[in-house]
Point group: D2
Chain length 264, copies 4
């Protein structure tokens, strides 16, 4: 139907995609008619299908699901959540409030998962190049920033999400679902930090989920992408709760408290 106004196909190709295909009466997702997916496929498998083009095995989908559930929310002290709650009082719709929160999941917030996968990959690459694991960890951490991505938490001495996620990852290794290399690297980093830092630097949600995403074969940027999907649920729930409380133009602190002056 494009032949008259796009005879060379150059315009259609400018927007070419393997993710989905649409024509009148047809919607295909990764080559599958959408009507064969609706009611047939669970949401986590749909996420996997969209990002990778194939369907996960049941145990892999279950592991991905656990990581997605774990990252959903951490309360209004997270800037993504506070931003969405304030935005929801400004008259911009839940889409705008969620977008405002998601936008804040940058390198220093939701981006830690991506950086943690890169760190795990680096540790494994150094090991593959001949270093022993302990050396590889030391080198990779020394080459990075002071904040080791995926480790340390300003609120939790121990992050309560770490143990259930790592236990599930260990079980998946035992059962042959995943190979366990990134898990091994992540635990070595954790041990290294325990030995070398004076304050506790526990594996946090970004670290534990990064291990799972990497074990499942997701490349580093998708650790951030998957966290975005997971945290969007929390962002939406908080924006929704706030929008029903009737505050307009909610500021960050009660109105009676005025920000202090800094010197010019």
């Amino acid at each position: 139907m494009n032949s008259d106004i796009d005879p060379s196909g150059a315009v259609a190709r400018w927007w070419a995609t393997a993710v989905s295909h649409m024509e009148p009466g047809v919607v295909e997702i990764r080559g599958r008619p959408v009507q064969e997916l609706i009611g047939e496929i669970d949401l986590v498998s749909m996420i996997w299908l969209m990002l990778r083009g194939d369907l996960p095995t049941g145990p892999k989908a279950a592991l991905l699901q656990a990581a997605l559930v774990a990252g959903v929310d951490h309360g209004p002290q997270a800037p993504s959540i506070a931003i969405a709650r304030m935005a929801a009082t400004c008259g911009i719709g839940l889409n705008g409030a969620v977008a405002s929160g998601v936008n804040a999941l940058g390198d220093a917030h939701g981006g830690a998962g991506q950086q943690c996968v890169e760190l795990l990959d680096e540790v494994l690459a150094l090991e593959a190049a001949g270093a022993d694991l302990e050396e590889a960890v030391g080198q990779a951490i020394a080459a990075g920033p002071r904040y080791v991505p995926g480790f340390g938490h300003r609120f939790h001495p121990i992050d309560p999400r770490r143990d259930p996620l790592i236990t599930l990852a260990e079980k998946a290794v035992t059962e042959g679902v995943v190979a366990g290399e990134h898990l091994r690297a992540g635990k070595a980093i954790e041990e290294h930090l325990r030995r070398t830092r004076s304050r506790p630097v526990p594996m946090n949600i970004d670290g534990a989920t990064a291990i799972i995403y990497a074990e499942l074969g997701f490349p580093a940027p998708l650790a951030r992408g998957l966290f975005v999907l997971s945290r969007s649920i929390g962002i939406l729930a908080h924006a929704w709760e706030e929008s029903r409380q009737g505050t307009r133009n909610k500021g960050p602190i009660p109105r009676a408290i005025l920000p202090a002056r800094l010197d010019q």
Copy 2:
């Protein structure tokens, strides 16, 4: 721990929430320790729990899941998808690309689901006030805008996502999972449009999912909110695909085509 710097509790109350609770070593979601949810609860039930505070029955979760799967993607002709793909070439991270796409799910895009639930509610309210269903539909449509939210599609004479969703909703009514009132109203609107409009105005994805969300008891704004979660998956998948193709600063059309001039 707040007593020294927030003795009255006013600052803590400014950010009070029932959605989650966090203190050192503790993360609770709707009053439940997060470690009891990880690996135990599926992602769709987590969405329900976050938004409503309780857990869905299995059949309700399944119905919600079908609607969430159905809305995931409709290709790059949807502005939300095209925006995310272009943003992904501008160097802003997947979080920024997803936020840019989600932000566009406004009143004329993802907002149709919200408006459709309001329309269904209005039809049922008019009926409850004594109108017969046919009159109620006519009145409710006449009072609204030319675009009937949830109906009509610029690409599809028949939306392939309608039948499987409506079939699942009908089955849920038969099995007593949901009451069927919003489904009845939605089908009456569809029939009314078939009789009164010269061009086909099929029930679209916003209409079919609005019926399901309303049957499950979600208020109108959450029809938009749930669509945001669903479409975020498609937005992420497209942003990710685009980001790997290496284009920088992708414009909307091939570079050789320059936008035409409009008169001043």
Copy 3:
């Protein structure tokens, strides 16, 4: 150069614009070569040219400039400012931080200027239809929401930006720069609120600038648009200051204060 891949011109027309024109070696703004504007035109006249297609007289540009200067900032209690400051600590670049703040200038925040112009237009329309001004104001306010857009402030009993702006508008009327109809309507609303409300409802920044934008002939949606440009300056300055203070993932309140629990 488009003839091969866009022979009908349909693709070029899809993006047709009168705002600017670009071809190799050429950038035209509203039909004027950009090199004739650089160094020749002031920034406020450029804003006018872009939005309207012609250049303002000097006195009109001066009046527009005063309104744009007035709206620049109101400190971190404004959600747009607080959001941008928090976003700036999340690793998303100043563009992302500014976008996050601007996004929050919705119907309940920056949108009040747009609504105020609509209210002023409504008052004048009722008057033109035969009501006297006092009646017109009463009717227009009664038909609207409890918050009269452009009037009332949660912090200021008297908004210090009102007097200098209204004085400049009055001077512009006296000198024949603008007609003064919207100013007359705005002052009548102010007087009406003074007589009928028990608490002070002073004309605020949105009201005073709405009068000026309307006097200059900008349609209502551009009252919001111009406020967006003005407030962007404040948003940028705050995001920049915050980004240099070294906080990562800044939450809305000091870390020692944990949000209170609401009942489920």
Copy 4:
């Protein structure tokens, strides 16, 4: 007034700022009552005051103004502009449309100005450390990415904005307004690229404005920040034009053209 609920002042200090101060009846910008600025100060000087805390001399303000005017628009082939136009058709308000466009001014789009200032600084640092200018340029470029930030344009063999900006910068050096070091470095990079690249790599808008911003003493991240303010004007003008054309949910290409399929 904060003593009851913030006795230690910790909450007020959490939001401390030197940019502005607000208390009932008072708005101060950089320590100056806002009513002393309205009608007294031009918009460009307000931008400078907000970002730096002092007022510019007239010639410095004029140079800054020229750079801000130059970057306003480059038409819908720029993703920021196309995104804003599409967003404006989705029902999200001009604030949402502008935010969507601004968000895309990331590392690969509006971020080039920031990177160019960093490159200029690096050239001057290498020179200060003993290299001659030609060596310093070669080293700095070799150390960076293939795209030299601030140079090269996919549309223009010669960017028409370069000459007027560089002429103004040269005049400012001659008149002692700025020192001319960054201008010298920028021209040396331009000359180096002319000699060493086979295809033209002209100084572009990001390069020419980066030179000016750096000469005026703005640090690198503010080259991006100032471009955000400048381009926001173009983004708003395009969003406004699009919003009046009545398209709903505008896709990137005419509806008759369907995106091509890529292989899975």
